[in-house]
């Protein structure tokens, strides 16, 4: 037998050694730590080096745009200026809410010189419009998708998730730049390639209650109950989320009876590909996913 036959069947990764710049937002390394860590592991798998946008500030999400359009624009605008100054032409955003804010500002600054004037007045620089914003899901573009598929060593048989997009991942599509409907089928087939069996349902874009979870917890409770109840009725035993706020609300709110573990897609990739530390992310969950995973012999 040749030496080469003893090498385990491990995917040959076309290392791109590219640098991925990302905007973390306020939640990535605090309330959504497992999202952060799993995303970094994902980037590593495709051979990319991740680097944070230096000196980033709050994107101007809900509270800022809710009470002052200019303030929200400035907060997002400063991040765009930083990216320009740091020579970043592609900036990955990890939270759908940050993504909508940054994209809105990017669009406004490029097309409305008056607004760019305000930015110049406040910070002393104009935005030239050279930054391309990307949502982290775009890591799963065609060429890379096979890398993930080939790296699956622990197919997640027995997990029956529903895909929960929430509001801002897809709405409004003239800001996010993509319509989820054609994208949904692709995403579903990608998720299925991890060995799971996704279920179809009609609640994928129902709001989780967002920040009303703090100010009006009863509303968030009833929203979350409706969503999880529908997930269960569709035969699902877990939910896949793409947003740090949705993930927390869906695990933290609602009544005990409807509880379901809520994974980020990157966590499932981590578990299916047995990426380093993947099992440590599970402790962060507010609904313990370990029984479900053990039941299906996935750990």
């Amino acid at each position: 037998m040749d030496e080469i036959d003893k090498i385990p069947d491990y995917p040959i990764v076309n290392k791109e050694h590219s640098r991925l710049y990302y905007y973390p937002g306020c939640s990535l390394m605090s309330s959504a730590k497992e999202l952060g860590e799993s995303l970094f592991a994902m980037a590593k798998l495709v051979g990319s080096w991740v680097e944070e946008l230096k000196d980033w500030n709050c994107c101007g999400s809900s509270p800022a745009h809710s009470v002052s359009q200019d303030y929200a624009l400035l907060l997002a605008g400063r991040n765009l200026l930083l990216a320009e100054r740091q020579g970043i032409d592609e900036l990955y955003v990890t939270c759908p809410s940050c993504y909508v804010r940054l994209r809105t500002a990017e669009n406004t600054l490029r097309h409305t010189p008056v607004k760019n004037d305000i930015l110049e007045e406040a910070i002393g620089r104009r935005y030239d419009g050279t930054v391309r914003l990307k949502f982290f899901l775009e890591l799963l573009i065609d060429s890379r998708r096979d890398i993930f598929k080939n790296a699956v060593v622990n197919p997640l048989k027995g997990l029956k998730p529903v895909l929960y997009f929430g509001c801002l991942l897809t709405r409004p599509e003239w800001i996010t730049g993509f319509d989820v409907l054609p994208y949904e089928a692709e995403l579903r087939s990608f998720v299925d390639s991890l060995g799971v069996e996704t279920k179809r349902w009609g609640y994928a874009k129902q709001c989780c209650g967002a920040h009303l979870a703090v100010t009006k917890p009863e509303l968030a409770d009833s929203q979350v109950d409706k969503i999880r109840d529908q997930a269960k009725r569709s035969g699902a035993n877990c939910i896949i989320s793409f947003c740090p706020l949705c993930q927390v609300n869906l695990e933290l709110r609602g009544s005990k009876e409807t509880r379901l573990p809520v994974f980020y897609i990157s966590e499932l990739i981590g578990l299916a590909c047995k990426l380093k530390n993947a099992e440590n992310w599970l402790e962060k969950h507010l609904v313990n996913p370990i029984p479900l995973l053990e039941e299906n012999k996935l750990l």
Binding site: P63, S68, L212, T215
Partner: protein, 180 residues
């Protein structure tokens, strides 16, 4: 009889950059709104009231504060009326003109969040939640949820901040509600 302000429609349209005359009250927005049960007027009723010049009622309403901006309404609207941007503009006008917010707790949430942003450029969730509780007197509500977050290591115990805070402060000057 309350005062009618005939210029209100134009004021709101100018502020949000969308025309609000196209609404034919199909109520798609109201039926799809996840927060409608907390509202005192349906979103389409707010549009009608703006057209009628009922400025005071609109600016004092709960509806404008309850909207979370999930964009369900505008996605369903046959006339593509941008209700979330309209609500943003209404809140901004209410603050500029010193109207008492119809939902003081939600305003306190936004205000305390933005104080964090002004202080560090980022949000320190732990302090933010404590300050929100102090501001609203809701000390014991939801303590369990907070403890659960801490237990699972999902709230940072220490804050991080932006280096160039001067830039952050300069931006804060553009926020009218900063000193309220």
């Amino acid at each position: 009889m309350k005062k009618i302000d005939n210029g209100f429609l134009n004021q709101v349209e100018d502020k949000c950059g969308h025309l609000l005359g196209g609404c034919f009250h199909c109520m798609a927005c109201a039926s799809g709104c996840p927060a409608v049960e907390l509202m005192d007027y349906y979103p389409n009723q707010i549009i009608r009231m703006i057209q009628f010049g009922m400025k005071e009622e609109v600016l004092k309403s709960k509806t404008i504060w309850v909207c979370v901006g999930c964009y369900a309404c505008v996605a369903q609207c046959p006339n593509r009326i941008h209700i979330p941007h309209m609500m943003d503009a209404l809140r901004e006008i209410a603050l500029e003109e010193g109207v008492e917010p119809g939902e003081p707790d939600i305003w306190a949430f936004h205000r305390e969040f933005l104080k964090q942003v002004d202080k560090r450029g980022r949000v320190y969730e732990l302090e933010f939640m404590m300050r929100y509780k102090l501001a609203t007197g809701s000390y014991f509500n939801d303590v369990g949820a907070g403890l659960k977050m801490i237990k699972h290591g999902r709230l940072d115990l220490f804050p991080t901040k932006v280096k160039k805070l001067k830039e952050i402060r300069a931006m804060g000057d553009y926020f009218d509600g900063r000193n309220r």
